[in-house]
Symmetry: C2
């Protein structure tokens, strides 16, 4: 060998996991209610899982689907399946049989790892797919292989010689957009590595941390925390069902120091928090632009620190974070929260992020001109699986198009004003739904708010607000409209406020605005005021 | 475009510098005694320097040498030269004209950027090389281009489209190894990126930091701090001459929070420290195994925290660091210092490090069995420039051989027991014993010569020569020292020459240097001069 290029080892999260296992064999890798798993034991299981998958015939490049809530077993699959050279296809636990059928077929999955409790969800599909190797986790299912039986034989060593090339696909994550069909986002080992390092850096992850997986791992691979924890030797606490009391109980019991959760789930934790609970927890939030009011409440009422990330599954997951300027702690708490609600600046290993006009020129950095957020760099997906047309559209002009509209502030921080498709256009004026929602969140009675466009004979569209109240709170639609009038330009004030018991949400807690739009368009009866 | 691979941007320190410049235009990038340079201004200078180099005919892949102490201008060259697509060849300021001649010729350098104060060092070489574009920094030199004249014209944008591919060579760093001739270590953009991220992570670098460049930038690119600072938005304080009082003065004046220095320079700072000076500084040390006593004194007397790194120029620079276990602060201070003197564990982006027997099997992790430290991964050099034989030897068996002997402790931490046996490290400079011996052998009276390291309170080590004379020949130690002065750079001259009747040798005739080292360390009485 005369060249050092052969000395390069792949940039993959597996390299980080391998280092964590080698350095910290005695430390806790998983703290679950019924078991604690050391790094040494986890490394052993990851190697045996990879060996077991090979033994049942899984070949490099094969797709292996996983349907499970946040469990220790799911966590190890995020390393064990890629170590076998296979491509992980994490499945959302809240899909319909038709959606499971589509994704399992479209991905060409050869095997399905399924949590015994989730099995009924896919039972009808499995009956039609006798070719699919189905393996049950955490419990026996008649007719299925048992997950623990995979662990008996050979291992694949968790070392560089076993790792796929960094340009290989690590996972295909199907997005549940509002479009008819889910799209398969191909994320490479390299992109996952870069996102993992971004999370370690931005969150200041260290081996003393204990991380509560609140956000589902099947969403963009738990935003990278399935590896960021193992890279540094931190402990993982899985939260199988997103339930406020159980989350707070595990936080106390297992000594949690970091967690990841979407803004709506933070609202749930705020509602559940009573009495003594740990302060000083570092919270990663993302997945929907968090209103400043929620950030402020988390920091004031819980004494936690919010780290705000922005990105999409297509960006593995994050391209920006709201890096906190040196002098921010000195500002007052509501100004601080408003600042933290910005999506911020490019993460160190993300690449380049711009806010552009339709002709791809940069918008003015004046905090006013809106444009689309586009990005390129190492965290951008390799493309949609078997969908060259959608890939070409997403990559038009050599940049990945997020479909999100933002302004760029003079300090270089970007702030999302709306999803392109969620902007309300009324009398030729753009009304960013997030701006109206932020005002509604400032009202003490409001727990959740969503503003969508309703057709209007004169203005084209008009904003309509759906609001869920805090437990025990009381307010009338008229009072909320008056509140909006005090804080918003007149044309942005909702023409109607609908107070509802709850808002439709996805598994990740994202409010499903398309269902609300359907209601105001008369696709289904809207709740009465 | 249907594939996302084209969205990948190179992993290069330039990407990190670019991000720092974009995010922190108003922050201080450089704090020098006579000037402060903002990130905006530094980014501008880096772009114009790259443009200026292109204008005078520098092509991608051309080698551009740099001979300068630690200055603001040198700092910007570590980004501006690579941005032009050229390969930087940093020159040690303590070499002989013959060594400069060799390196400039061997590297095929097309241009030389030289600090006006360092110009006399290369003046004789430049007279013989009229083809070399010589450019003087920080002062005019008659007949040389002026550095500042490069900044007038076009720029190369500090953006992904300008960056070389990550596998391209960024710098060729010449080591004065144990062979007669310096070897050119080729470091790629990717390896420099990985080392930079390792330093950011291990030192916890943040934009509030102010870094004092004590270690020469020409040593392994300032160990990566020339970029690690800019990656996060921290300030750089250059220290042109390693002088204890000046270092402490700059620490106070510029608000220094981090610095990098070899152990012998730490001794110098300890000697100079008097009265009030800032505490809490984070100190990166490396370059020679630091004695536990020095670490303890730095932590106790100065109140600074020592971070111990290990590696070679060939590993860009570092493969391990002594990561501090959670419970170490509770141990007593001398136990803590002894622990910190270990070379430690692999850095997150370094790759894999092993301690192996001659058959490449792992030594027992018992803290007793010695083996050679070998490594592979992304920080390993691409190879020695134009030296395939030395490269092949260094990469024997698919691992880079450090030539250092270490033990592996049961906790996985490695500890060097013997530096590459024959190298003497004096004041941070490598003194190859073979080179000094070769000069001694040139003297007509010398029959056998062996040069070993003796401990030195200030320089760490100092070369001591054992000489056996030819039969009937006569020479004094003083005459041999004078002989060496005529043929060697001053710091390589033995501080003591011991004339002995015979040198201990193995059956095969190899001189047993370890016995000589024992003598100068006082293990047994040294022969009288």
């Amino acid at each position: 060998m005369t060249e050092g290029e052969e000395m390069e080892t792949p940039l993959t999260p597996l390299a980080l996991v391998s280092r964590g296992v080698r350095l910290h064999p005695q430390r806790d890798a998983v703290r679950d209610d019924d078991q604690t798993i050391s790094y040494g034991a986890l490394g052993d299981r990851i190697e045996r899982l990879a060996g077991g998958l090979r033994r049942i015939g899984i070949q490099p490049g094969d797709r292996v689907a996983l349907l499970a809530p946040n469990t220790a077993q799911a966590l190890e699959c995020y390393s064990g399946v890629p170590l076998a050279g296979a491509i992980l296809v994490p499945l959302n636990t809240r899909l319909s049989p038709e959606e499971y059928r589509y994704i399992l077929d479209h991905s060409g999955s050869r095997a399905l790892l399924v949590d015994a409790a989730s099995y009924p969800l896919v039972q009808p599909v499995l009956r039609e797919r006798p070719d699919l190797l189905a393996i049950s986790q955490r419990g026996e299912v008649p007719g299925l292989l048992s997950y623990e039986d995979l662990f008996g034989g050979a291992r694949v060593p968790l070392a560089a010689e076993s790792f796929p090339a960094e340009g290989e696909v690590l996972s295909i994550n199907y997005t549940s957009g509002t479009t008819a069909r889910p799209k398969g986002v191909q994320l490479t080992h390299r992109s996952a590595f870069c996102n993992t390092m971004n999370m370690v850096l931005a969150m200041g992850m260290r081996k003393e941390d204990v991380h509560l997986h609140v956000a589902p791992m099947f969403h963009a691979n738990g935003w990278g925390f399935v590896w960021a924890t193992l890279a540094v030797g931190a402990a993982n606490v899985p939260l199988p069902a997103v339930q406020g009391e159980d989350a707070l109980r595990r936080i106390g019991r297992h000594g949690v120091t970091t967690l990841c959760a979407v803004p709506t789930v933070l609202t749930m934790l705020l509602a559940a928090a009573r009495g003594e609970f740990p302060r000083g927890i570092r919270v990663a939030t993302a997945g929907a632009a968090p209103p400043a009011a929620i950030i402020q409440r988390v920091e004031e009422e819980l004494g936690w620190t919010v780290f705000h990330f922005y990105g999409l599954t297509e960006t593995t997951a994050f391209i920006t974070h709201c890096e906190i300027p040196q002098d921010l702690p000195r500002r007052d708490v509501s100004e601080r929260a408003r600042f933290k609600a910005r999506q911020g600046v490019a993460l160190p290993l993300a690449g380049e992020v711009r806010v552009v006009r339709e002709d791809m020129s940069d918008v003015a950095a004046d905090g006013r001109e809106m444009g689309e957020v586009v990005a390129r760099g190492n965290v951008i997906m390799q493309g949609y699986y078997k969908d060259p047309d959608a890939t070409a559209r997403a990559f038009a002009g050599g940049w990945f198009h997020t479909g999100d509209l933002a302004v760029l502030h003079p300090d270089g921080y970007l702030e999302i004003r709306d999803r392109a498709k969620d902007v309300i256009i009324s009398g030729g004026e753009n009304i960013p739904s997030l701006e109206v929602e932020a005002v509604l969140y400032q009202h003490p009675a409001v727990a959740l708010a969503a503003v969508v466009a309703a057709p209007h004979p004169h203005w084209g569209e008009t904003p309509v607000a759906f609001v869920a109240l805090k437990e025990g709170a009381s307010v009338t639609p008229e009072e909320l409209i008056a509140h909006c009038r005090r804080h918003l330009t007149h044309f942005k004030v909702p023409s109607q406020v609908l107070i509802v018991p709850e808002l439709p949400r996805t598994a990740s807690g994202k409010i499903q605005k398309y269902l609300l739009r359907g209601r105001v368009r008369g696709d289904s009866p809207a709740a009465s005021t």
